[in-house]
Symmetry: C2
Subunit: 385 residues, 2 copies
């Protein structure tokens, strides 16, 4: 189901205390329409991703709100699957086009997280797990990922020093991204010296709590050709779920859902990991990026940390990973993240990324995760089809 | 996009204090698989509707939960659009099939509302409106609908006595439905004497706060034929949104989104209101059913109350409306409602409704609303295509 991306929009990520959910949605969506040289009235359907607005400010029905802020009366649906909401909204938008029920679709994602205290955020993010089964044990989300990290350390013999390379790399990339939440480089020593959150994960191993929104305008190949666009195509889409309970998994050092989603996406696009020039992966924690590049098939299992430490995943390396700065440093407004990853890859393939541009990027990939490796979606983007 | 329904499941609606969200989802979904004579592993994708679980018990990521309780590792997406979540999940499931990305899809809806106090429910349901703009005025959802009702009374000259017929009819229908929350008939006098909620809407003008779940198994026409099913087909699907702010509407006595969604659904199915044998409409309040039958095109504007009072929308009338008992008396577990409406219409067209069976029903319609007439979805079901 080749679907064309003809417009992208992306707010600054950060602590945006002067902007509401409505403001952020309007900004990203209108920017995507301007980029596509279309009026909002030109679309047929809207899919909006959001995780937290109900629990943080009592706001549900985000689809209707997304339509309201751009003044259209079209079918509008909110998609939620924890931190993978954005990629599943993208997938739903693609299906709407492939089903021929829509020719042009707006997909947006938004989150407003920094107006409330950390305990509200912790409670809200735990909604990604089975609350009845896991929350009442007292564990937090970083706590769950710390168990995974410990288990991985034990199995593959790496240490906190190896994790830190992920953070250093992604902060260096974010320093080149005007839309990033934390535009500053950090040192290996700073990561290791940062305060402990959930042993062995320290503050600089964790992604950011951010406000932000992103949007893309999708259309059919026929619409893009008829109207003389030079789009980026989404040629592969794969999604899968694993058990929502970490305790139910045979091996917590690998995310099977990443593996399965990637296999589906690669098969649909007819490409292999060797064909990918640039990728954005779900680095909610430094450990998560290491597992992602392995489970996606880019690096042998157990070798992810070494690959990153070697520099091959830097902007100028063999396989630039998280050129945007990733969730770690660009920021992680959860409902927006999957859509924002798509925006970054589209801009990389268009060659519009300025200082953080990956040379000659033709095929890109996004990897987005909801829960503790529970729901994963992988998308493949191509300049030429 | 003709899509076949080959399995349906529906829990009892009511105050189900001994069942969790997981229990309800498992029950409805497994019943739908049994009805379809399929194992859960036979499906390709899951869409699950839910509105309130985040705000009521901190549970998000319902798609993964829906997959978990039936033990599958498939793409699973939660759809939320306030009280129309169920119908938009149905629509997303249909698109997945029409896009040929899936051959068999599970669509479910669930809500667990009766474990918390009324003020939590009132706050949660207000998430359907623009919280920033309307909630802080202090109005409640019944309050917004009371304004609509007053305006309608003024314009069309009806009174509380006219509204009461809707409630009497739907309770009489629910008395024949073993799955209904309130299986008891009530009198016209009882409605008028019930305590005032938001003048002129009294307690028996309002739908119920219920727990419950419903599920349908959808498949492509080809899959149904190849496997010798005798399905009910969904032949029309229309959705539309209106402004989320009641104050932004020119006329609050009509829901334009109902009108537009119905026009799309009728056009897609190639039928007219005259062809419909049975319908389930969104009677969140008695006034809402009157507006629905008008805005859908079944009755001239301003004549809905008279049509209902005349008995023509009773089970044995010209146009049986809400044979299940509707949101008013079958109950309104909001995320489940749209899917439950589909289950009722499928059973009516199959002839499986026992005491509440509508004679010789061949074409049916569901009408589901989110917010204050904000998002509306209409679906048309046919026995023969």
């Amino acid at each position: 189901m080749n679907v064309a991306v003809i417009g992208v929009g992306h707010t600054k990520f950060g602590e945006l205390w002067d902007q509401s959910i409505n403001d952020l949605l309007a900004h990203a969506q209108l920017e995507a329409f301007a980029d596509a040289r279309l009026k909002p009235q030109a679309i047929d359907e809207i899919y909006t991703a959001n995780m937290c607005a109900g629990m943080i400010e009592g706001q549900l029905h985000l689809g209707a709100l997304a339509a309201e802020v751009i003044g259209v009366d079209l079918p509008a649906t909110r998609i939620e699957a924890a931190c993978v909401s954005g990629s599943l909204a993208l997938r739903a938008g693609m299906m709407a086009i492939a089903s021929k029920q829509a020719e042009v679709v707006l997909v947006s994602g938004v989150e407003k997280m920094t107006d409330v205290s950390n305990d509200v955020i912790a409670t809200t993010l735990f909604g990604a797990s089975d609350v009845e089964a896991e929350k009442y044990t007292g564990v937090t989300f970083p706590g769950l990922f710390a168990m995974i990290t410990r288990s991985y350390f034990h199995k593959y013999g790496i240490t906190r020093k190896d994790l830190a390379h992920v953070s250093v790399k992604n902060h260096a990339h974010a320093a080149l991204n005007p839309l990033a939440h934390l535009r500053k480089s950090i040192t290996h020593e700073q990561v290791l010296a940062s305060s402990m959150v959930a042993d062995p994960l320290s503050l600089l191993d964790c992604s950011l709590v951010s406000d932000g929104a992103a949007a893309v305008v999708l259309c059919s190949k026929e619409f893009a050709e008829k109207n003389n666009y030079t789009p980026i195509y989404i040629t592969g889409s794969g999604a899968s779920v694993d058990s929502i309970h970490l305790a139910a998994r045979d091996d917590i050092t690998t995310f099977q859902a990443t593996n399965k989603a990637a296999q589906k996406a690669f098969a649909m696009a007819g490409v292999t990991p060797d064909d990918i020039d640039v990728l954005e992966v779900h680095d909610a924690f430094t450990m998560a990026e290491i597992m992602a590049v392995e489970d996606l098939g880019f690096v042998e299992k157990g070798k992810g940390a070494h690959a990153i430490a070697s520099g091959e995943m830097n902007l100028d390396g063999r396989l630039p990973t998280n050129p945007s700065g990733g969730l770690k440093a660009k920021g992680h407004p959860v409902g927006a993240t999957g859509v924002a990853q798509a925006v970054e890859i589209v801009k990389q393939l268009r060659g519009e990324c300025g200082q953080r541009q990956v040379d000659n990027a033709k095929i890109g990939l996004t990897h987005n995760v909801g829960g503790i490796g529970t729901t994963v979606a992988v998308h493949i983007f191509q300049k030429e089809v």
